[in-house]
Every structure is written in C-alpha cells, then in structure tokens.
Symmetry: C2
Subunit: 375 residues, 2 copies
C-alpha cells in the first residue's frame, strides 16, 4: 500500500490533489516551479521540497506530474537521472495521454509509468484556488499499455479509489485521446466556428439580440481564453482533425438532404423526382433518430443518479456481490469483478467499454464496480 | 391607442400573452381549438369566444395568432371572410416570419398584417404552464415589409412596448429568418450531429463517461424532442442549409490547417514545406481570433447588464435625451429617436443593426431607445 506521494506542480489540479491526499493521511511531498504557494501548502500538511531533483530523490512511492503539459519534456529530463524507478511509480494528470507517454518514453522512464487523467477542474487556476473537494465525485481515466506492470497500476489505482475516494476507468492512450477529442476538443472547435460564423454575418448584432439559451450554451466554451483552447486542440490534433472531417461530412449531408427535400416541395409535380425526395426525407428522419440511444442514456443516467442518491441516503453505499442474476439489472447495484493477472489489461479495457467503473479495491485482484447505463 | 386584443390559441405563449395583456388593463378576447382552458382563462379576466369566426367578428383592434405554425393555413382560411381588415390589425408570434407572411398573403390578409416574434418561452406547454411573467424582459422582433402601413406597425409596436412593457427591434422577414437560423436552428442541427457522432463511435460509453460541462452544454438542445427540432428546421430550411454549408466549410478548412501544421511538425527538416506550414499556423491563429469581437461583446453585455441593474435600482430607469456627446457613450443611457414617416422602415431596420432597441413610444413618431454594445 502506497503511503507517500510526490506532487510536481501546486496549481489548481496539483494543489487540490496534494491537499486531498494530505487530508486523507498520506505523506505528501511537493515541488513547485516557484516557492510562492509553499507557506500555504505547509499549513495544509504538505512537505515542500526546494528542488525537483530533491523531490525525486526523496523516493516517494508515487510521483505525480501535475505541471502544465508544455513543461513536461524539460521536467522529465530533470527527473530522469534523479528518480529511482524501482522505488517510485511515475504518473501524471495530463489531459492527453499518448503525447505524455511518448515524452516519458523519450526520457527513458516508461518502465515505471502509469498515466492518469482526473475529470476535475474549473475556470480558476493556482494553489490559492485549490480545494480538496475539487475531486469530489471525479472520475479518473487510468491509462496503460501492454508493458504496464500490474503492481504499478495497482499502486496508482488503489490510491485513486481507496485513497482519494474516487472512481476510475482503465483505458489505452489512443482510446482516451479519441474520447477526449470527441467530447471536449472537437466541440471546442465547433463552438469557435459558430462564433466565427456569427461575427462574419452582416446581421451579427441582430442575431445576437435574438439569441437565447441554445446559442448561449453552445458557444459558452468559445468564450474562454482562445489560446488555451488552441493549445488543447493542438495537443490532440490528429484526433480532432478526424472528428472535424466527420462533423463537416454530417453537416454537409444534412444540408444536401434539406436541399433535395426543399426542391421537391416546390416541384412535387415532377414524378421522376419523387424517389430523390423520399430518400432525402428518409435520411432527414435518420439524422434526427440516430442519436436516440444517447437521449435514452441521458434520461436513464439522470434517473440513476436520482435513485443512487436515494439508495445511498437510505442504506449507505453498500456494495453487493456480483451474481449471474444481477448482471442485467440496473446500475444502482454495486458489483465485484475478479481481475485475471494473465489478461488484466484487456479485461479492464472491456469493462470500461461496458460502462463499468472501478469504485474500490477489495484486495489486490478484486474490485467493486459500479455500472452505468449503456449507449 | 389599442384597447382590445384578440388572441388565437391559449397555449404557453398565447396564454401568457393574454394574461399579461389582461393584467395590464386591455380588453382581451380569446379563442382556443378546444375550450379546455376557458374556465381558467375567464378567472384571469379573459373573454373566451366559442368560435374563431366569432373572435374575428368581435373586431378586436389587434388579433394575434398564437396557434402552432402548422395550423396557420387553415386558421387564416377561416379568418379571411370573418375579419374586418379596416378595424383589425393582424399579427402573430411565429418563430419564422417569411413563411407566415406568405400564408397571410395567400389568405388575402397581407394589407392588415404586421409580423411579430417574442423571444420568450420555456420547455413547457399549454395554458396551465402559462405565466404573464414569461414575457418579463422579453425582446420582440416586429417584422415589416415595404407595404406595411405605419398606423398598423404603431398599433402592434405600442402594444408591445407601452402596453406589455417589453422592448422590440424592427426587421424584415428575411433578416429575421436568417438571424434565427444562425442563433437557433443551425445550432440545433449541429448539436444533433454531435450526438450522432458520439453514437457512431465504438467508444461511445467511454466518451460519455469522460464528458463534462462542454459536452453537456453543447448537446443539451439535441436532447429535446427531435420531432420539434425537425419541424423548426424544416420551417427555415433554406437558411439552415446555407449556414450548415458555411459551418462544414469552416470545420473542413480548420481540419486541413491542423493537418498541414501537423505534417510539418514531423517533417520540419524539409525547407520547401515551411511556407505551407506557416500558412496553416497563420490560419489557425485566425480561426481562434476571428470571433474576438463576440467575446468582447459578451463581456460588455455582462458588464452592461450588471451596471443597468445598479442604475435602475439607484435612480429608476430614467431615460435621458439623445445628444451628440452621448452617441458613443455606453448602452446604459437611454436615448430617443425621431421616426421619419417618409423612410421609417429603413430607419428602424438600420437602428436594429446598430444594436438599438425600442423601449417605449413617447408619441406617435418619437421613441425611447436603449443601445446594446456592438459586435
């Protein structure tokens, strides 16, 4: 069981993590690129170290990189000669995983590395904005590859679940980065394109006057610092590129269908066009029904969350053992999963795809899971 | 001055409008396709009429169509022989204006018609959900064409401002429908395409697990009844088609720039590619800066709204006379505008494009306006 944690970078994410770990009884050591937050951090029980090399040489069992991604190569280069990879497992909280693993590998540290990405954050930054509660209810993605040692995965995953009280899913880097592009990086680009479209319109002031909730919600993320958005997309650009091409194709196909259906509204006396018209109407119908499983999922998740709160309030969050009969019941029941050491990577990746989350380690090879509805 | 109002359709929008008008001292008559809401409506001082023809024959000074758009042709056909166009000005609250004017024209009623569209509503429906406060702070678009008689515009516009206490902008149908497509109908299609993209991904459950605020906000409108969204887009399809093509082109161009910049990251030893790379970097920078005037506008509007609340609280919403020196000051100051009877249409359209809103009629040819920041 891990008892000592090293944190590189005491910003919003690293500071909140350090404070949460310290509050939960871990020995927490930290280094920051300036000593500015040290006085406040020490009051929270965090041992602040003067140099990055000194932090590595203190041999924490887990060393978690919470620095900005752009500082990653230089920090890894400084850590490489100082870290004891036998004693220390290296992790990070970066929002892209493939790029970080490549940088870790270039620094010769891939043998002791397990990636991680907590779904936590807000619009603030710096240790002064940090809060251990930032991680309340946060889901972590833990990223592994075929070379990842189970004992190192266990160190990171137990810390997240049993230590921090969070849930996690296990992913490979490519899956993580594609999923992040889909639900965050691509939407940021789409929102930016939408405000660009408005600004290019001669009627932009009228449009803005008529704008209501749909416009406000769909462009909110385009209002944040465009340099930050640009950096985020840049770090995951290959995945974003593919998704933007997909989205462009979807919008263009729908525009074509609207055009065909429109043409035929005005020329419905032309018998030979009816097939084209019917095709367009059918694909328009398909455009509006294709996402129904996501609508159902959202409705179920909302119900599930409500029910879960009710169950937890009434009975405490008791976890019941997985049996054949509960397999297809609902996500409110906790289940357990036995991890096979021979194929743990593929087993846990598949579990994530099935909407399961690891809630707690019961022993080294047995976890409590919580099931979400399936899309 | 208008004193009697006829309302066709006592749903959420029509019911709330009828109740607000009655509460503000108007004589309100109403007809609904079923008499179900009549008992409740009568308690709110609304005179309910048994037939649509009877409502028209009562000769209200304003007759406002608040029925669903799909019922418009049949309602107009029934009204045409019953209405007295000398006594009654016809209006509506439909969310598309070109289509309604065409239907009004086909019914032979264009001579007495002035279009209107209040920016009000919520996710509920029916008279039981109606609330006079639904119109609090609502902006109306009033739509006119070259044939619109000023006295009829005045009847509708005075009712909205001095009567209901709302602000308005004056638009032609095409401008209204293009603006509505830009800030509502096109975004609904984009949100739908985004959930379709998620559902088509083999990693949809993982993506949904990692989804946070940006995904939630950008897909919220895709969760509402897809048949309603489909009808809305269908009614404004020509404008939506153009905007979807524009958006597809923007996303594709950005994808191409990401691709070029990406290629060159990995082959930056090739001297002859540097120009292409620099071009891509420059257009990527342009992609993120093109919407800056909208970001500034939102920041100013937020400040303005905050300041306006402060000013109103401290001094009441006093409106000061327009002078040369206040022209470029800020939107918190109210101004007046003299309406020239010779060119009132173009004058009021231009005023809307400049971010001005009509707040109140001071006399038949003089209005108090409120200026918004300009994008």
């Amino acid at each position: 069981m891990v008892t000592s944690i090293g944190i590189v970078g005491l910003g919003l994410i690293g500071g909140s993590l350090a404070r949460r770990a310290a509050a939960r009884g871990y020995e927490v050591l930290a280094w920051n690129h300036t000593p500015r937050p040290y006085e406040a951090a020490r009051r929270d029980g965090i041992q602040c170290v003067e140099t990055l090399e000194g932090l590595a040489q203190a041999r924490p069992e887990l060393l978690i990189l919470c620095n900005p991604l752009k500082a990653m190569p230089s920090i890894l280069a400084r850590l490489a000669p100082a870290i004891d990879p036998e004693a220390t497992t290296l992790s990070d909280v970066g929002s892209v995983k493939g790029m970080v693993r490549e940088q870790v590998s270039q620094a010769g540290l891939s043998g002791c590395y397990v990636g991680a990405h907590p779904m936590a954050g807000n619009e603030h930054s710096g240790f002064e904005a940090s809060d251990p509660a930032l991680y309340d209810g946060a889901l972590w993605a833990v990223t592994i590859d075929a070379e990842t040692e189970y004992r190192r995965f266990l160190a990171v995953a137990r810390f997240i679940t049993n230590g921090l009280g969070n849930e996690l899913i296990v992913l490979d880097d490519a899956t993580h980065d594609r999923a992040a592009a889909l639900i965050s990086h691509m939407p940021h680009a789409v929102a930016t394109a939408m405000i660009n479209e408005l600004c290019a319109s001669p009627e932009r002031n009228i449009a803005a006057a008529l704008a209501a909730g749909s416009w406000r919600d769909m462009t909110r993320v385009a209002l944040t610092d465009p340099n930050r958005t640009r950096a985020m997309i840049d770090e995951d650009r290959a995945n974003v590129e593919v998704l933007l091409r997909n989205m462009a194709a979807r919008l263009l196909a729908f525009a074509n269908d609207l055009h065909c259906a429109d043409d035929l509204h005005s020329t419905d006396d032309l018998q030979h066009d009816d097939g084209l018209h019917d095709d367009a109407e059918a694909t328009i119908a398909e455009f509006f029904s294709a996402g129904q499983s996501f609508r159902d999922f959202k409705a179920q998740t909302a119900q599930g969350a409500q029910a879960l709160r009710g169950v937890q309030a009434a009975q405490g969050a008791a976890l019941v053992a997985r049996t054949g009969s509960t397999e297809n019941e609902n996500q409110r029941q906790g289940d357990t999963l036995d991890i096979d050491p021979a194929c743990w990577q593929s087993e846990l990746l598949e579990s994530a795809k099935q909407g399961e989350r690891i809630a707690r380690f019961l022993d080294d090879h047995r976890v409590a899971i919580r099931r979400q509805p399936i899309i």
